[in-house]
Structure formats: C-alpha cells, structure tokens
C-alpha cells in the first residue's frame, strides 16, 4: 500500500492512531536482513492489545534478536474493516505495513474465548485460509499461545501449533527450528512432526479424536510420534529471564497506559473457580532488586509517570514492604506514582503506610466473590466478612465514601440464600457507615456491587460442574436485584448470554471448530463487545452444525469422563482437581501453598513456592 493510499484510508476512520504505527520504541528493521518475520496478532483492538503485558514481553524479546523482526497486528475496528474489504486492502502489520500473509509466522495470543471469531476474521482479512489443512504451503505458519490454549480444541483446526504455558523459551526454540527448515526446504508436515518434539509444543493435527455414542469424548490419540501428553512450559528463574527495557509508548490513550512491572507468576491461593490460579503454578517470584531495576529502566525509556505492579495478588509477594521502600526511594523524586492493585495493607509498618498514603488514592475494592461464608468456603476464597467490615471502618474514618465489591453468580451449590448474602453484605457496609461517628461529614456512602456470571473452566476443580442456564442466570439476577432495597447500593451485572457462550467455548471439543467458523461467516466478531455480540447468530451456527451448546455448558461431567484437555499436561493433576471438587461440595477449604503444600503436581518443575521453607 503506498503512503497516499494509506493516509486516505486512515483519514476516513475513527482513531487513526490505532493503525498508524511509528510510536516511540516500536521496532523497524531491514526486512531483507532478517531470517524470520513474525506477525504478532492480538485479536482485539489496539487499545486492549497494547495494554497486554505478554505481548510487550515477547515483542521486545523477539526483536532483541537480529535474525527476527516481530511486528504488531491488531483487529481493525469495524469501520476500517469495511473500508479494507471494499478497497481490497489485506490485513497489514503496524511497523512495515506489509501484508500479514507474507510473514513467516502469524502468531495469536488468545486471552479470552470471545476473541476466537476475531482470529478467524483476521486470517480472512489477511487472505490466509482459516483451516490448517487448507494451508499446504510451509508459510505462513499460524501459531497461538495464551491462557485459552489450555483447551484449544474449539479452534484446533485453525491453528498449526499451540504453545502451552510461558512462551519466552519455547517460542524461540520453535523459531530456530523454523529457520533450519526454511533453509533446508522441508515440508510443512515434516516440520510439524519435528516441532511436536519440543516440550510445550502442541500440534493438534497430530491427534486423532474419537467419540462415544453419548457424544462424550472417547479418546485422543497421538499420531506420527507426537507425545501422548504435552507438558506446559514454565520459566524456572524469573531473575534470569528476559524482561523488556522498553515498552512501545502509544500516542493514543490505551486501557493500561503505564509501566507494568511483573513481580511474580502464579498464585498461592487456589480459589476453586480461578483458572489462572492453577495454570500458572507454581508461584515463582522476582527478587526485589530485579523488580526495582527493571521498573526504573522502563520508566527512563518510556517517560511514563506511573508504575503498576503486576501479579495475580500483590499482597502475596513475600518482600512487598522492602520492595515498596526501594521503589519509593526514587519514584517520589521523579514524580512517578505507584499503583498497587489488590494490595492488602493490614500488616504494613506505620512508616510505610505514611509513605504510601498519598499514592493510594484509588478506590476501596473487595472481591468476596460469594455472599455467604459457606459459599466462600466452597470456592476456597479466603475473605471474611469481619475483614471487609474492619477495613471499611478504617477507610471510612479516613475519608473514604465509596466501596466496590465483586461477586460471581451461579457458583456451584449456590442458593438464593447466598445471593441474599450479597445484598446483606452491601447493607451491612451502608449501616456501618452511618453508625460511624467519625464518617465524612455531610457525605453519603456508595456501595457498588458488580456481579459476573460464573463460567466453569478447564483446569479448575469446577471443570466437571454444569453452568446454570441463561434463564436461571436471569432469574437469579432478578432475585438479587429484588433483595437490594437502598439507593446507596448500585448493582451491575454481566450479560447472561455472553457467559453462556464463553462457557461453551471454554470446555468445548474439536467439533466446535465448525461452529466457530460458521458463526464468523455469519458475521460474528468482537463478541466480547456487548454492542457487537449477537447470540442469535451463534445459535443459528450451532443449529446449522447440529450441535447442542447445552451439552457443553450445562452438563455435569463424571470424574471418569475423558475431557478434551486431558492430553494437555498443565502439571496440576486431575486427581487433585477431583479431590478439590469433593472438598468444595462439603464446603471444606484448602490451605494456600505457603501454609501447606497440597501436592497438586506442579512441584515437578523443581522450582518455586513448592520448595520454599515453611
């Protein structure tokens, strides 16, 4: 595309800054001087993709090698897509503006199921056949990573290679193999067979699936020498791991527009609904020095004036207090602010509390997830009502007037009693406020309750559980609404239909590939955007393919059933999940990894929290 044509195109769309490229720290190379061109695709808009830490890490890491040029590609918003289709402009990468189909490797990061149709749409816009079997040439290869890849079966027929677990090492091993094959001129089939030997590489076309009469999976059999199970990769020593010195700094405002500094991977908690809490095990921390050095370097190279510490639960970083002290040594002077998501400050020293007082201007938020202690025990969520009320009391006395609470609806064993518990907790917080003599004078309190729909996910103790039906979700939402009697409490919840589809795709098998393709052909895209989500079209797609979505979403699975992801080894064992499921049903909690190891299986890497002294 020449410059003029490109300019014309961008001047006709909203937010041209999404597509213009040329940002600070974006990487331009001589394409004739590299061996591998990698198109890193995020199947959503620029503002979301650019906020994603994993993409920043891999983009910098790939480009740190002279033989690779990695470029970024995002889903064009509907206005640009229409123009591209009308003018026959293929999907292009931001850096070179070259067509994506000319790249060696097209890589997607799959962060949520609702981005699957965007992936197909991007391939289509690129002029690349969506099905792996229809791409007979060696290039471009289509690869994918990210959390959704722990059950990639609903998209297994579109992707040549999946990366299981953390990508920093395995991605480069694959690229090296690719280089070797490109030189020697091997075929795609040979390459895929060879690639399957790399630990963490899953080549779905090498696995044969069979089904039982009742529609459940009978077996998944590895062919052509592929391993029977594929084990996810992790990075053992995060202090030695590559971390970017620079982030691309967007011109336009994005969702998380700041330095994001990772402090550890994994989570010790084991909340039973939370997939991230299991698939990233075991917990591995970066040292205070590493975190401090990396954060400082990023600030200098980006000019950002805000750092957010990133992990699944900031408070579980063992040396949070020394870390904050160290960061504050230079951030205050440089006018860099810290944001500390999900930080509990209960046991901080007064001195540190004083120092961070002015930086904690963000709101007061809690995620009890369930309305009663019984249900919180079922899900192993270690938050008590007393704790919440105690923290609110201190915060109200300190001038706070707004509280945010996060809950899930439709959790296993949930009854109306539990839903009422949500409303009651909100009411208790309101009452507490008005009973407090030292509350802010003349101001009223606001409690906002946000309720998402529970979606059972693979690799959690609830992977066997049925999801409640859309009608039942709506009934429970209405019931909860009826239990809230004061205007001081505001209630918001997620769209019930979105949760349903997410549930189907999360635990789907390979037969859903047809449905995903049919849905995208009917025009489904940006399914995670309420204004674009169209359940009707999806239901038509299911019908056309003669597949009942309820089979996937609303059915209880036996412990013995072969699950579509059983041949993928995230090292936490199925037996562990079965035990945890049983404990959940009797409302028994499990200790976190630091209290006591529950021998989940993740210790096999020989690293991390499993080997800490308790």
């Amino acid at each position: 595309m020449d410059n003029n044509e490109f300019e014309k195109l961008l001047l006709s769309v909203q937010k041209p800054g999404r597509y213009s490229g040329g940002e600070i720290n974006s990487v331009i190379k001589d394409k004739t001087a590299v061996d591998v061109r990698f198109a890193f695709c995020f199947p959503d808009i620029y503002e979301i993709g650019m906020s994603h830490l994993g993409m920043k890490i891999l983009y910098s890491q790939f480009n740190s090698r002279d033989d690779i040029w990695c470029e970024r590609v995002f889903a064009p918003w509907v206005d640009l897509e229409a123009l591209m289709r009308e003018r026959g402009i293929p999907l292009f990468a931001l850096e070179s503006r070259d067509p994506v189909k000319d790249f060696d490797i097209i890589g997607f990061t799959l962060q949520y199921e609702m981005s699957y149709t965007n992936m197909l749409n991007m391939l289509d816009l690129a002029g690349v056949p969506p099905r792996s079997k229809d791409r007979t040439d060696f290039t471009p290869l289509v690869v994918a990573g990210g959390p959704c890849v722990c059950n990639p079966e609903p998209i297994a027929e579109f992707v040549d290679i999946f990366f299981l677990g953390e990508g920093e090492e395995v991605d480069l091993e694959l690229i090296d193999l690719y280089k070797k094959f490109k030189k020697s001129g091997g075929s795609k089939a040979e390459f895929l067979r060879e690639a399957a030997k790399i630990e963490g590489v899953y080549v779905p076309s090498l696995y044969e699936t069979e089904y039982n009469q009742d529609g459940t999976l009978k077996s998944v059999t590895a062919q052509n020498g592929a391993p029977a199970t594929v084990k996810k990769r992790i990075i053992k020593d995060l202090d030695k791991l590559y971390y970017p010195e620079k982030f691309v700094v967007p011109f336009i405002d994005i969702v998380h527009d700041r330095v994001v500094q990772e402090i550890f991977r994994g989570c010790i908690r084991g909340c039973r609904f939370c997939q991230a809490g299991y698939i990233y095990r075991p917990v591995r921390e970066k040292s205070v020095d590493t975190v401090n050095r990396q954060a400082k370097c990023l600030c200098e190279n980006t000019g950002y004036d805000e750092i957010s510490l990133s992990s699944l639960s900031t408070s579980d970083y063992r040396e949070i207090e020394p870390l904050l002290n160290k960061l504050l040594e230079w951030t205050t002077e440089k006018r860099v602010s810290l944001s500390l998501p999900s930080l509990r400050i209960d046991n901080f020293s007064d001195e540190l509390l004083e120092k961070i007082k002015h930086i904690r201007k963000s709101g007061l938020t809690f995620a009890p997830e369930a309305g009663t202690q019984r249900l919180r025990d079922v899900i192993n969520k270690n938050v008590t009502e007393e704790e919440i009320l105690r923290t609110c009391k201190t915060a109200f006395a300190g001038g706070y007037t707004a509280v945010k609470l996060y809950f899930m609806l439709g959790l296993p064993t949930e009854t109306d009693e539990d839903l009422k518990g949500i409303a009651d907790l909100g009411q208790k917080i309101v009452d507490l406020y008005y009973a407090l003599p030292e509350r802010p004078k003349g101001k009223s309190v606001s409690v906002s309750i946000s309720v998402s729909t529970f979606v059972p996910k693979p690799f959690t103790p609830f992977q066997f559980e049925p999801q409640i039906t859309v009608d039942e979700i709506r009934r429970r939402q209405e019931y909860l609404k009826s239990q809230i009697t004061t205007k001081k409490i505001s209630l918001s919840y997620h769209d019930s239909a979105t949760g349903f589809l997410e549930g189907v795709l999360a635990r789907g098998d390979r037969r859903l590939c047809d449905v995903v393709e049919a849905a995208y052909k009917k025009g489904c895209r940006f399914d995670s955007w309420t204004e674009h989500f169209d359940l009707e079209k999806w239901l038509e797609a299911f019908e056309d393919c003669k597949i009942d979505p309820a089979f996937y979403a609303n059915r209880t699975r036996d412990f013995e059933e072969v699950l579509p992801w059983d041949h993928l080894d995230y090292t936490v064992s199925k037996d562990f999940f079965i035990e945890e499921n049983k404990k959940a049903k009797s409302a028994k909690t499990s200790p976190n990894c630091r209290e006591k190891c529950s021998a989940c299986g993740a210790a096999c890497y020989g690293e991390g929290v499993c080997f800490e002294k308790r």
């Binding site: 800054g17 011109f251 336009i252 000019g303 950002y304």
Partner: protein
Amino acid sequence: MKFVSHLDMNRFMSRLVSRAGIPVWYTEGFNRHFYMNFAVPLSLGFEGLYEVMDFKLTDDDYSLSECLERMNKVCPPDIEFFKIGEPKESMKEIAFAEYRLRFEALSDEFAERLTGFLSQKSVICEKTGKKGRVKEIDIIPKIKSFSFDGNELTLILNAGNEDTLNPNLVLTAFYAQTAAPPVFCTVTRTMLFNKKLKPFE
C-alpha cells in the same frame, strides 16, 4: 505524527521531556503535571512544518542546546525540534498560518471553481465551537490570501486563539456550495506568522 490528536500530543510531550531527562517545570498542587502550551493546535490528519510550543525549565542555567539535543534523541523519526530559545514574541502575536493543500489531481475546471469560490465577497457557513455550539461565520474575511501552483493550493488563514480558520472548513464550505466531486488532498501547515506576516519567533 499527523494522526495524533492535540490531546494525545500533550501526553506525548510530557513523556518525551521525561525520557529526555531535562529539568522541566511541573505545576504545583494535587495533580502535578508537566506544563506546556502549543501556540496553535494542529488538527488531526495535518502535517506541521513550523509548530511552536513553550514550556518552562526549573534551572535557568541549563544549556538550551543540550536540551534540544536530548529532546531530539528521544523523538520518533517523523518529528524534529529544530530550535529552542527564549521567546521573542508572545504567543498572542500569532495572527496567520500558511497551509499547503496538495490535491491528488487538480483539473483546470476544479481549480477555476475553487478560485471562483475563494474570490467571493462573503461565504457564510456554520462552525462548531468549543462547547459544541454552532455559530454562523463568514470565512472570506479570514482568508488572507490564496494561490495555486500545479496541484497545490496555498492558503494564508487567520490563526491564533481568538480567530482561527481551519482549512477543512474552507473545503467543506466549498464542496457544500458548489457540489463539486471531492478530491483527496493532504494538508500541511508550513508557517505561523505574526501580524506583520513575518515568521513568528
């Protein structure tokens, strides 16, 4: 850079001076931020060859040439700071801006119609103000001069906070009045002038 809106430009500059590590002055108070001001904000989609902004340094003795060097070092390739110095004139002195409109293809007929349009005594059109309020203005008195050269039209228009005319408005009015088929053009602001039509410094 031409796809960066004015608001985004402020954020961009703030990060740029921070990367450059120069001692700039920040506002006092609760929400402290880098303070700077563009003389005449450039519209989204325009290129600018002579843009002016001001900001304060906290250190009076800091070398301005070092400042310039550092800022250029941390800049994306399509922006360059070419001069930095003590202000000679107040921003208020800016009165005109010169724009170069390069049309993709310019037929004689189109050029004639455009000339005819620009030579009228008065053209009233609607302008949307800051608060979304629409008012009627006459654009002709705000056009200081115009000239053609091949595919290019050069316009000198009123500029400055009080009284700015955007070349897009001229084009919109032209197309609305003549119903001529639109021709794609790129817009470059080539100069800012003071009241005496001398380059603003």
